[in-house]
């Protein structure tokens, strides 16, 4: 489960330490998203216990029984008695321990880490499609329950009888119980809705990111852009694809660079692998599309401002510095 952590009144240095602590917890199976407090529901609120705005947010969070951590640098003010508090000058390990204790109080346990991954991956539909070379090399009839679809690897399309079937099957990509069989001539009469296979896998994987095991940590590469035209719910998939087209990278470095949640990066990798587009660094070397011969002009401040405005207008999540 994804833990929603908000911050209020916290200075940049403290926020950096908080992010480091969350990254360390990620390695132990926690999945934490940090955002500024906006008054909406969250699991944990971290405030500066000596900031007026932080104390205001703290009061509201307490009334809503949200777990709180108040950062202090000196004697604990009376307003922050109760809840957790933490001297922000403490080493990052103390931050990790305080966060872990706070989460355990809310009965939030980390997701089961990797050792079960191999066993579960062999049963989950999307993972089977990603890992089984036979399934990736032929057109298939895929069924789950009483719904069926054609997975046309040769054309990069998925075909189902109706939009409802397609959406239902997409929502079950992270489940076990799929049946895959080679497509026979008699079965090609399944007409109806045709959609991009890459987008189908990407949207399905991201919607069920928590159910999928973490992808392997090897360095990977894309040789072609996945067809993400209809994968509009998570624009981070574009950023992940771009990185993998430019160079080899593993999911941890991608998550670190883009600040995209590790499980979301992993979900994208499962989708790209199922599409047959993802290559390990050994297989991908030497065939990638080269970067253009002419180097782009150095970006001026004006260009950077224009890019930011265009990105905001078209909903492109910018990489955080």
């Amino acid at each position: 489960m994804k833990i929603v952590l908000r911050v209020a009144g916290v200075n940049e240095r403290a926020e950096q330490r908080l992010r480091m602590a969350c990254k360390l917890l990620e390695a132990n199976g926690y999945r934490i998203a940090i955002d500024p407090w906006d008054g909406t529901k969250c699991d944990v609120l971290v405030v500066d216990g000596q900031d007026t705005y932080g104390l205001h947010a703290l009061g509201i969070a307490r009334r809503r029984s949200v777990s709180t951590i108040a950062l202090t640098s000196g004697p604990v003010p009376s307003d922050v008695q109760g809840g957790q508090f933490l001297d922000q000058n403490e080493p990052v390990l103390s931050w990790v321990q305080t966060l872990q204790y706070t989460l355990s109080e809310r009965a939030i346990e980390p997701k089961e880490p990797g050792p079960n991954r191999d066993a579960s991956a062999s049963a989950i539909g999307l993972c089977r499609l990603a890992q089984d070379p036979d399934l990736k090399s032929m057109d298939l009839l895929a069924s789950f329950g009483d719904r069926r679809m054609i997975v046309s690897v040769s054309k990069g399309r998925v075909i189902a009888k109706s939009e409802a079937d397609l959406l239902q099957l997409r929502s079950q990509l992270a489940e076990t119980g799929w049946n895959f069989s080679p497509l026979s001539g008699a079965q090609t009469d399944l007409h109806g809705i045709s959609a991009s296979l890459d987008s189908f896998y990407t949207e399905g994987a991201l919607a069920a990111a928590e159910k999928l095991p973490l992808y392997s940590s090897e360095k990977l590469r894309l040789l072609d852009w996945p067809d993400l035209g209809a994968a509009i719910k998570f624009v981070g998939a574009l950023t992940i694809a771009k990185i993998l087209l430019q160079r080899q990278a593993d999911m941890h470095s991608i998550s670190e660079e883009t600040k995209i949640d590790l499980w979301d990066v992993s979900a994208c990798l499962w989708a790209f692998a199922a599409s047959g587009l993802l290559h390990s660094h050994a297989a991908g070397a030497g065939h990638a599309i080269s970067t253009p011969a002419t180097q782009p002009a150095k970006t001026s401040r004006k260009d950077a401002g224009l890019f930011a405005r265009l990105a905001e207008r078209f909903g492109l999540v910018l990489q955080r510095n």
């Binding site: 072609d224 852009w225 993400l228 209809a230 207008r313």
Partner: protein, 174 residues
């Protein structure tokens, strides 16, 4: 003819959905130079653009992004370099029902690269849901031959979100 300001260009053959796509993302009513097809309707298409499509997208603080749609007919090629000059990038829309869609892709890549070797390009293929035999593979092969890292996506030209996705991919290519 002087065309200035920050601009984005949509290019591609007749019937690919350029006018539709521009209308999908525009914040102002597009100025469209449509005339009836002289040889009669082609499916649902009854008109064609005989000059430029033009619309604006409003960025924050009211600054406009000018969006131009190039006419797909070859006899208008003389204006391509004028419109493309100084553009942020080009969205090339292709019709997924065309049997020679990969040749169209190559033609447009060649034309645009002949004008500007480094302008960012993204490929959008429309109407693929009504062509059961469509595949992106020949288009990807063209892009590899051109050593072009351009994204190629299948999109619905009527969808604001999917056309915006093309623009997002273009921004990442900048």
């Amino acid at each position: 003819m002087h065309i200035g300001g920050v601009k984005l260009v949509f290019a591609g053959p007749v019937g690919a959905g350029k006018s539709t796509a521009i209308r999908a993302i525009a914040d102002t009513e597009p100025v469209s130079t449509e005339m009836p097809l002289v040889d009669g309707a082609i499916g649902d298409k009854t008109t064609t653009t005989v000059a430029l499509d033009f619309a604006t997208v409003i960025l924050d603080e009211g600054a406009p992004l000018f969006v131009y749609g190039l006419p797909g007919q070859q006899h208008f090629e003389f204006i391509y370099s004028i419109v493309i000059e100084g553009a942020l990038g080009v969205v090339v829309l292709l019709n997924g029902r065309d049997l020679d869609v990969s040749n169209q892709c190559e033609r447009w890549l060649h034309t645009i690269r002949g004008i500007n070797k480094s302008i960012p390009i993204v490929i959008g293929v429309t109407q693929t849901d009504s062509n059961p035999d469509f595949t992106l593979k020949p288009i990807r092969e063209v892009l590899r031959r051109y050593q072009s890292p351009a994204p190629a996506f299948t999109v619905d030209a009527r969808s604001r979100d999917e056309i915006a996705q093309l623009v997002r991919a273009l921004l990442l290519a900048m």
